[in-house]
């Protein structure tokens, strides 16, 4: 797989999505919330880009903005190139022809994304009839085939059911089937397994891996679960307070994380194979209030390595290991070595 892929983020001929300088702001009763700040990312054909970060770090809103799905009080600036179209300035007709067709999004909350009072099969055939102009019979055949592909047992019978009659795992597979119906170039999966049990999660992740490998679909996988990213992503973007603070090849991110926040996240995640006894490592404090972001590094109040220079905002720049990081310090490797 794309082991030769560049880590640094420059658009190339196989780029599917190219986000440049995206900023997302929300107007709220008690002031403006800057949910995403000056964010740039690309994703290429057949690649899985993992997006990790804690609640509120802007993972979802980055891609809601990308597909023109922001809430009414939200505004996005920057550029989001999908093929020749800038999705931020595209009109609603263009967006409608792209969404659910060439670019699909699968959400965590499958109940709200399926229409409750319509049979599952009907909801799926409509997508094909709308985007691909298939007749009812051809659409139904394609839908049954896709339900089978996402390993839904007895697809003909399931197609006749309403969403609430399916288990959470089956509903999530229906959502993925819906996303894949038109063979999209881009699949954005926002916490696709968070609400599911681990044994069901494994099936869904296998499915996403298969789509990426055999259909060459570009996949953006948003999750707070580092284990999920480790199993599936080729590259990983770590977000904190609306910014990418580290971006790199999946192996580099996990074996030689360069940003103190990435290091902290990895250290404090309990795993099935870590040493017991003693305490879990923690990151002190909590994520910042997006209404009052500090002018410098947003991680500074929680960072063990903070210095005076951190009061100025660190740009995302090349780091050891071939990735990018937004941290002013380059001497952390020697400090952490000395400490251990």
């Amino acid at each position: 797989m794309p082991s030769t892929r560049k880590t640094a983020d420059v658009a190339g001929s196989d780029t599917v999505l190219d986000i440049q300088g995206l900023t997302v702001r929300f107007e709220t009763a008690d002031g403006e919330v800057q949910a995403v700040s000056d964010l740039s990312l690309t994703v290429a054909k057949g690649e899985c880009l993992g997006i990790v970060g804690e609640s509120g770090s802007g993972k979802s809103q980055t891609f809601m903005a990308t597909l023109g799905l922001l809430a009414d009080n939200g505004r996005a600036t920057g550029k989001v190139m999908f093929g020749d179209a800038d999705l931020l300035t595209a009109n609603e007709a263009t967006l409608n022809s792209i969404r659910g067709n060439r670019a699909a999004m699968v959400f965590q909350d499958h109940m709200t994304s399926l229409t409750p009072h319509m049979k599952v099969g009907r909801q799926l055939t409509e997508v094909l009839q709308r985007h691909r102009g298939l007749d009812a019979k051809a659409a139904l055949d394609a839908v049954i085939a896709m339900l089978r592909r996402v390993q839904i047992p007895e697809p003909e019978r399931r197609a006749e059911m309403y969403p609430h009659e399916l288990s959470g795992g089956l509903r999530q597979r229906v959502m993925i089937a819906m996303g894949l119906l038109c063979h999209p170039e881009l699949l954005i999966a926002d916490e696709p397994t968070t609400a599911l049990d681990v044994t069901v999660q494994a099936l869904i992740l296998d499915l996403i891996r298969d789509v990426k490998d055999s259909d060459n679909t570009a996949v953006i996988l948003i999750t707070h679960d580092l284990g999920v990213v480790a199993g599936l992503a080729d590259r990983v973007a770590v977000m904190y307070a609306g910014r990418v603070v580290e971006l790199g090849d999946v192996n580099q991110i996990f074996s030689e994380p360069q940003h103190p926040y990435t290091q902290g996240l990895l250290a404090c995640s309990p795993r099935l194979d870590d040493a017991l006894g003693g305490k879990l490592k923690t990151i002190p404090g909590q994520p910042p209030n997006l209404q009052r972001l500090p002018p410098g590094c947003a991680f500074a109040p929680r960072c063990p390595y903070v210095i005076a220079a951190c009061a100025e905002r660190p740009p995302l720049r090349p780091a050891a290991g071939g990735g990018l990081k937004a941290c002013v310090r380059d001497d952390l490797a020697s400090i952490t070595k000395a400490a251990s």
Binding site: D197, L205, R271, T282, P284, P287
Partner: protein
């Protein structure tokens, strides 16, 4: 603590069943069918011990916790607290016993009364059980506990919505600890929290456990978290115990096919290991607890199932002291 039952148990649960009547079929001719939420669970808990309870959603974990606290009526079986059977106690006697049994819920914000300040929320059980304490003494104990759970004194007059998820969970924990209970039931206490905050709360629970000599039932679907906090672990599936073992035995040498499948499905945050590790794929979905499979309830998804599994319910086997497993083929 690998052989905890040398001491007299704090809590004994014997063949506990909780069945909910669920209406099935049409509105008029519908009938009630029992949903087997907890179906014959037994275990002991020693003072100061932590028993992890794991299993997938709907397997009965929370129902079990609530039935132990008598927040839900059991259909049959016994909950024995300090040698005394709780089923059949009067409301007054149950209230008295509950001074020593507290619960921490999953959703930090939703489990706190939005109209009460942090200080009042934490003080409430104390006012309830010890109205004789002076205001000053109550305030002193609240302040002391707030410090122990890592809340600043200045936060005492704030309302729940003014706190982060992790802070709300600390308030919930402080409220559960204020009576210095002998047992705390933690129902998914860190599932709603972010990774960085989750580790803080787990450490806090471990600290408090040591400081107060607390016993805990730690209910969670997260096997890695349970491993860090439990002395022993009980694996539930469709309301039944599949395996019960000391922590290290369960994680290093699980015997039940379901436990093995669960372990193999937990993603490891290490790309090389995660991609290379063998996985046991479970096909099919969780069967409905309204209509559990005959014989072994796991058989519809079990890769090792044979004919006998559909016919005979497995009985307990003990491959090692304190290690119990319910499977016909646990020795293969």
């Amino acid at each position: 603590m690998t052989a905890p039952l040398l001491q007299a148990p704090l809590l004994q649960v014997r063949d506990l069943k909780v069945h909910f009547p669920v209406k099935t079929g049409g509105l008029l001719i519908g009938r009630y069918q029992p949903l087997h939420a907890v179906d014959g669970v037994s275990f002991d808990l020693a003072p100061g011990e932590t028993l992890g309870i794991v299993g997938e959603s709907g397997c009965g974990k929370s129902t079990l916790g609530r039935a132990v606290l008598q927040l839900l009526p059991a259909t049959s079986g016994a909950v024995i607290w300090l040698g005394q059977e709780m089923t059949g106690l009067s409301a007054k006697e149950i209230k008295a016993a509950r001074e020593n049994m507290q619960i921490v819920f999953q959703d930090p914000l939703a489990s706190l009364d939005p109209r009460m300040t942090a200080g009042d929320i934490i003080a409430e059980p104390l006012r309830n059980y010890h109205p004789e304490l002076s205001r000053a003494e109550t305030a002193r104990r609240v302040a002391e506990l707030m410090e122990q759970v890592g809340l600043l004194p200045g936060m005492i007059n704030r309302y729940p919505h003014e706190f982060s998820g992790g802070q709300c969970q600390r308030i919930g924990i402080a409220r559960a600890m204020i009576l210095k209970p002998k047992l705390v039931i933690c129902d998914e206490p860190v599932s709603a929290l972010d990774v960085s905050v989750r580790a803080q709360v787990i450490n806090l629970l471990k600290d408090l456990q040591k400081a107060f000599g607390l016993a805990m039932l730690f209910i969670s679907h997260d096997l890695a978290v349970v491993r860090h906090i439990s002395d022993r672990v009980l694996v539930l599936y469709l309301g039944k115990v599949m395996e019960l073992a000391p922590r290290d035995l369960l994680y290093q040498a699980p015997r039940h096919p379901y436990t093995r499948a669960l372990m193999s499905a937990v993603p490891i945050p290490d790309p090389a290991l995660e991609r290379a590790k063998p996985r046991i794929i479970l096909t099919g979905d969780l069967p409905s607890p309204l209509n559990p499979p005959s014989g072994c309830v796991f058989r519809t998804r079990c890769p090792k199932a044979t004919d006998i599994c559909a016919q005979v319910e497995p009985v307990r086997e003990s491959p090692a002291p304190g290690h119990d497993v319910w499977c016909h083929h646990s020795r293969d």
